[in-house]
Symmetry: C2
Subunit: 189 residues, 2 copies
């Protein structure tokens, strides 16, 4: 951020009075421009003993497999965002949705909120951001071709809870340590 979106003049990084963090503050009109994490909402869509994955048609990780998910928009709920993304990416209608897991990904300031639900008629088809959609059993999941660590972790939790027939809400965090290695912490359920 270099310029104020309110008046167009330059911004500087300052700690505003009463605050304790550097913020972008306009040198002219003094508007404080806060920056906050974004929510990514998505879904594990179930059909029989399978779940839906999408092959990404866009960067990053073009060609890898992912759960349908994307940025939550203003004026919607997390549930609506998860349903919308599933429809946009996979033409998938999902019912009986309930929140299943959340992950805070600190180093990129994202919070994933993943729902679980039933894929209507087991039907899906690639949307604009997908090359292909497919239903996978646990045995067939392409673990080495998953798009992001958060997708791998969500699926690992899911299949563990499914085996135990005990779906509790899961909360956790993912970050890079000093050596840039990805670290996953699943909080106690």
């Amino acid at each position: 951020m270099k310029y104020c979106s309110t008046c167009g003049e330059q911004v500087s990084q300052k700690i505003p009075s009463g605050d304790n963090r550097l913020r972008y503050v306009c040198d002219s009109c003094e508007t404080i421009h806060y920056q906050n994490p974004r929510i990514i909402a998505g879904c594990i869509a179930e059909h029989d003993d399978k779940i839906l994955l999408c092959k990404r048609a866009i960067e990053p990780r073009l060609g890898s497999w992912t759960l349908p998910a994307g940025y939550m928009e203003n004026n919607e709920t997390t549930l609506q965002a998860a349903a919308r993304e599933s429809f946009e990416e996979a033409n998938a209608n999902i019912i009986n949705m309930s929140l299943y897991c959340t992950y805070s990904i600190r180093h990129i300031s994202q919070v994933y909120m993943m729902y679980r639900g039933t894929l209507v008629d087991g039907f899906s088809a690639a949307g604009e951001e997908s090359l292909e959609t497919r239903l996978y059993t646990e045995q067939d999941i392409p673990w080495d071709e998953l798009a992001f660590p958060v997708i791998t972790e969500t699926l690992k939790l899911y299949f563990t809870d499914k085996r135990n027939n005990n779906f509790k809400l899961r909360d956790g965090e993912i970050y890079r340590d000093e050596s840039q290695k990805i670290v996953v912490k699943n909080y106690p359920a």
Copy 2:
């Protein structure tokens, strides 16, 4: 938003190619400026059969009672944000925190993520944004002086689940209907 934060030129509302929503797009450098919901993280801090409330020292709703909560910052987790806000607003240290409920508040594009935890030593004291802090039993909660509908709903759920000794994650939404009346939907637990 009137000006581009990247180059300082004017922005217009357009639907970018491949998108289906109006976005602020720079007339000059074509940067797309997405706007997304913000997360507010907070905590129900328990001590014996009481919970902690803070009397607001700031607008909106100065003088009303609320749970410690505030905007999540970049590069932190939702749990860290809830703990930080509890410390900033009430000098409260909270342990054994677990995610308890989330509410999407559509009309103001906020997502609340509320934790539940144990208030260390039962100690609290007003931080800069609070006039006063106090521990309340269910019978003493000042229901008519609570700051926001989401706080009232969170506490109603909490005391119901506490009576049943069955804390399940709760997810729901709050919005204004056409007559501007606040509507609350708690999804099935």
